[in-house]
Homo-oligomer: 694 residues x 2
């Protein structure tokens, strides 16, 4: 990958001298900062912008590390072949007109890939804007040179985007309007060869990148992406496009991307430590804050330093709303603050400096209060508010930052003000590494992201996938049940062998046998007719609940037997008392592989899908973490005096399901629904195993 | 109120010639646009800024409509008295140092109010920044004149704020950085006389105001506020500060405000049609969008016109996520779009124009696509994306607006770009009345607010409060139960008389009596010991559930009797089958008066408070609207084949509770918990009536 980012020489295939053409803009952009050799290639010219121009790549005299291709799509395969013959091994295809345009384009894309594979070329693109490195002023892209004419702002966050605009127009907006600094911006387009995982892997090791923001319309190698995220020591922020029905449809035509299962992806990615974003600018502000702040102590005891009582109050509301805490100041801090304030003003957090401005002056009051707060051991974060463009009410920001670094405190800024002063202030904040936000909510949201973004220790057990083994008896059940969809009895037989607690039950073949089985198992019992493929037994009248006597059992048996006409099995089962219902299961995702699912069942599942996912297999500690990720986790702590969920049993169930999923690709899906909880013990009452489609 | 906003003459009490003093800034600000007479008042000067200066207000020769007071707090009562003697009937006190500073300041504030009442003066403030009228350039405020030196942008939204910054620095930020236009900004401070209701009432009739944004730390006359909101024909957007514990504490010291019960307030206000905001800028963007858009058709079938595939995809996601719909374009529109696009590009929504730029040019493509979409009968909203500062890719916005108005379509804009072009574009959008947002999420959020902001028909029955009557039998129960907290039997007696379905039950005084009552009522039954003030009966072992036989009843009765030692009543009650539990009730809020509460009970109440409130009394249709406002409303539709909730019975329960609350100030609180639902019928199983504190 390094050659893509740091080539010594570049061929521009499709260079032209025509003003405002893409081939010309590529050359102009290369002249901004790239100091290696540049070779225009175009059979119609011998010189472009004072550079000798070559008819094909093969005619270039010196060695070439990287080719940028901007010829029309149909000419790309031949251009690639020429690159291959020349020995160029890295090519960025910026031309459009490939898979995103339909079947013919898809075939063309396949042809390119075949040519590249044969020649040993790694391909970037097509249908992309290439890459930009702001600190070095490398613009390997056809974007309009005016985009950066308002000035570049170098920073330490890099972007990987599956959209041209986001690496071009959006960059202009970020740097010129918002004063956000950028390291590298990588536009990967249709990613026929190099994909988000390749670029992410590179950026995770890149010394100029502190955090990575990604806008993706698909995650093709989902499993690999999880691995990278899981071991990353830098924050990763992801905005996933195409989560909705219409968005997914649009993604398909934009970069030919299959958007995938949004709920599953969100759940897996956040388990792997990825921060999920909801909009472009919000993604960038979150990423910048994570890069600058790193992680904060979990409680984020926040002191608010403001010039406005109203902003102080709203900050308190937002801090608490995000689950962070408003710092309770030390007595010594309060004493120090009292010197700054007029007598009538109680010194407390939020520290509203406005009443102090009249006495000491705005600047002295601000600095005095800052100095008191920054050394308070009961403060983790200083949330600094500024209004700029009126009074000189702030010190050089680097002095604040130095003091905060000395004390190990986090700074975050909310700033409003007059336009030009605001921009100057934001640039200064960018330069000294303090995240400065224009909206209070955004600032607190970023802080909350930082508080959740722990320094990574690897939590997933993805590498263990190959080592998961089935108990020998499980293999026997698997081979004895060839049906595509198993009935609940067979399904639970398999679960039981794999160590998952299941309800007591027995197949019965006569009324007398049913009564005998009930006596063995204990009343009350349930009788179920196991019609094949009949997943909705209740709605079909094949379930008889609450049978408390022999006579009830006999009547129910007779009735079921009549209904089934002797064709199907009848199952007698202990009727379990229920405090609440959970669900668990296994599924196999095309991009993310085998996964384990956990969630609330019963009435809750009707109200809102509260389910989470982990890649299989998973360790007991990951299982515990997963369990704690459902929104309704309060329920599991026990309520109205009930027992809390037995976490050991529950985690074991998920671990066992994960092993089953990892060891047995034949299993496409398992639904354990419900997993009934009574007195804290979960037990599988109904389940369905579905075989993978061949 | 009109005199505050449009006086013919103004006295400035505390005017000074000292540069940068508040008294001087007031005079400078008055010179910006106010053309009436201005009279500085200060005994130490005879002339300030070429105006004759008077020792007291009484010495002013001509009539004076309004006085602005900026003398130190202790001198304010005398200044007011002088105003009274002069015949000035409107005074804005901008000085601080009153109730917000503690007991002494509170007493001083009371003194001012007494002086004003005696002299017939209406007071605005104290501790405020006064008011600003941008279109007329009226600045009745001491804020620094530099704040508006970047240029004023007049608009048609007005602000009422309980924070100085928000009417000063924030204005500068809004106009200079964000190009948001403002009509009036009213800073009401401690609102010792004129409060948010007075100003809101005025602005609702103000011809220069199309929508109103309020930042408030308290709503003192809550009931009145609801009335105003309920009959308002303009959008009202409210940001309430002090919702959290620490925020409420800070509000008390900022403007001496009691923040109140946040959940109750949010619920009542949104029922009255108020849009709730979460941050300052977000409030302003939402307000502007509501002012410009008015209300949109509920489905908001949205066509997305973009230059970026990625932004189009994310827009789809956000539109669906906010419950709006991505328009399904008409065949004729698709045909027309096909002419603009290259052959390979399917014309569909989102309309990604980037591939069309090369052919027709960016501007022609944009205009062509716009013209096709704006007349599509299957499109309600055009969500237009722009990148500015590069190509001339947009027409004069007023032409777009005129076309949209002709077709009755809504326009909303997302724009990014280079800094200066961006500002010019936003000003243009402001001028022709199209809301332009810098973030996609924000734009869609505003659209969603507009789709919910229906043209108001009054829904609340606040005026009916005086007419609510108790059934005669209810009065008898009330007088027979003097206890501060009633037991459940007495509580349900009252509810039953008021038409609320209650569980069958009977007080029993012997085991034999209990068995007899059970036979009458039907098995299974519950026995409860009604220990006085014993709200948590279950935890105290005073509830015996599921008694199915005479012998079980006898044993339970004996046990309870022993526990209670004959001191308390024993209640026998039919044990109701339960599908799910609701809660309902009554409470009396200091600011908002009697209210009715409704929500999910049981296990749901444990997971998350899902309760909503309406002011009492309420009509059956408001009760239905209220019921539909809980988050878990899906539950009420019936699940797993269950019956939906009987809305007539449920609405009647809430109406009856509301009448009870309105008619009977003696009742402080009623909790009906649980209100058990089985087969769609709700029935009160337990209830507590609490008398108002005297």
């Amino acid at each position: 990958m390094k050659t893509f980012f740091d080539p010594a020489s570049i061929a521009v295939i499709g260079a032209t001298p025509r003003e405002n053409s893409l081939g010309s803009q590529l050359l102009v952009n290369l002249s901004l900062g790239f100091t290696g050799s540049v070779y225009p290639v175009n059979p119609n010219y011998t010189e472009i912008r004072s550079l000798p121009c070559f008819p094909t790549a093969e005619n270039i005299p010196g060695p070439v590390d990287l080719a940028l291709v901007i010829v029309p799509a149909p000419s790309v395969p031949e251009a690639l072949a020429a690159c291959g013959r020349k020995g160029i091994r890295r090519v960025i295809i910026e031309s459009a007109g490939f898979a995103e345009t339909g079947p013919a384009g898809r075939a063309l894309q396949e042809r390119c890939l075949a040519v590249a594979r044969k020649a040993g070329i790694r391909l970037w693109g097509p249908n992309c804007m290439g890459l930009v490195d702001i600190p070095r002023k490398f613009f390997f892209t056809f974007m309009h040179p005016n985009i950066h004419s308002d000035g570049l702002i170098a920073g330490r966050i890099s972007m990987v985007v599956q959209s041209g605009m986001l690496s071009a127009g959006f960059l202009a907006d970020l740097m010129s309007e918002r004063a956000v600094g950028i390291a590298k911006a990588c536009s990967i387009g249709n990613k026929m060869d190099i994909d988000e995982c390749d670029v992410l892997e590179y950026l995770l090791e890149d010394e100029e990148t502190d955090a990575i923001a990604l806008y993706l319309e698909s995650i093709v190698r989902g499993r690999r992406f999880l691995e990278l995220a899981d071991r990353a020591r830098k924050p990763i922020v992801l905005l996933k496009g195409g989560k909705s029905r219409s968005g997914a449809k649009a993604a398909l035509s934009h970069t030919s991307s299959l958007a995938g299962n949004a709920r599953l992806q969100d759940s897996l990615l956040s388990l792997a430590g990825v921060t999920l974003a909801r909009d472009f600018h919000q993604m960038m502000e979150v990423t910048r804050a994570l890069a600058m702040i790193g992680h904060t102590p979990k409680r984020c005891r926040t002191a608010i330093l403001t010039f406005s009582g109203g902003a102080g109050i709203l900050s308190c509301d937002l801090v608490e709303q995000h689950g962070l805490s408003v710092a309770d100041l030390s007595a010594s801090t309060i004493k120090e603050l009292a010197n700054i304030f007029p007598d009538w003003m109680p010194a407390e957090n939020p520290v509203d400096l406005f009443p102090a401005f009249a006495g000491k002056g705005a600047l002295a009051a601000y600095v005095g209060a800052f100095n008191a707060l920054v050394k308070d051991p009961k403060v983790d974060v200083l949330f600094m508010h500024f209004f700029v463009g009126l009074y000189p009410n702030y010190e050089k920001l680097k002095n604040f930052k130095a003091a905060a670094d000395r004390e190990g405190k986090v700074l975050i800024i909310w700033v409003i003000g007059r336009r030009d002063a605001l921009r100057a202030f934001k640039r200064e904040a960018q330069e000294c590494g303090i995240p400065a936000h224009g909206e209070l909510f955004r600032a607190v949201e970023c802080l909350a992201c930082a508080s959740r973004c722990k320094p990574r220790k690897r939590t997933l057990s993805l590498a263990a996938a190959g080592r998961a083994k089935l108990p020998p008896k499980a293999a026997a059940v698997l081979s004895s049940c060839p049906e595509p969809i198993w009935d609940e009895y067979d399904s639970k037989r398999l679960l039981k062998i794999c160590g998952i607690p299941t309800v007591k039950e027995k197949i019965v073949s006569s009324a007398a046998g049913a009564v005998e089985a009930a006596r063995e198992i204990g009343f009350p019992v349930v009788l179920k007719g196991l019609a094949e493929g009949q997943v909705h037994k209740t709605e079909s009248g094949l379930v008889r609940l609450g049978l408390s006597s022999s006579s009830e059992i006999r009547a129910a048996y007779a009735d079921l037997a009549k209904k089934l006409k002797g064709k199907e099995r009848i199952l007698l089962q202990k009727q379990m008392p229920v405090e609440y219902e959970l669900i668990a299961g296994v599924l196999r995702d095309e991009q993310f592989g085998p996964c384990v699912m956990f969630g609330l069942g019963g009435i809750f599942a009707e109200l809102q899908k509260d389910v989470v996912f982990a890649p299989a297999p998973l360790s007991a500690s990951t299982a515990r973490e997963l369990i704690g990720r459902i929104s309704g986790k309060k329920l599991l702590q026990g309520f109205r005096g009930g027992k809390p969920l037995d976490m050991k049993i529950m985690a074991d169930i998920l671990v066992n399901l994960g092993n089953l999923a990892a060891a047995c690709p034949d299993i496409g899906q398992i639904d354990v629904n419900p997993l009934v909880v009574y007195r804290g013990k979960p037990i599988a009452v109904d389940a369905t195993v579905v075989r993978s489609e061949k």
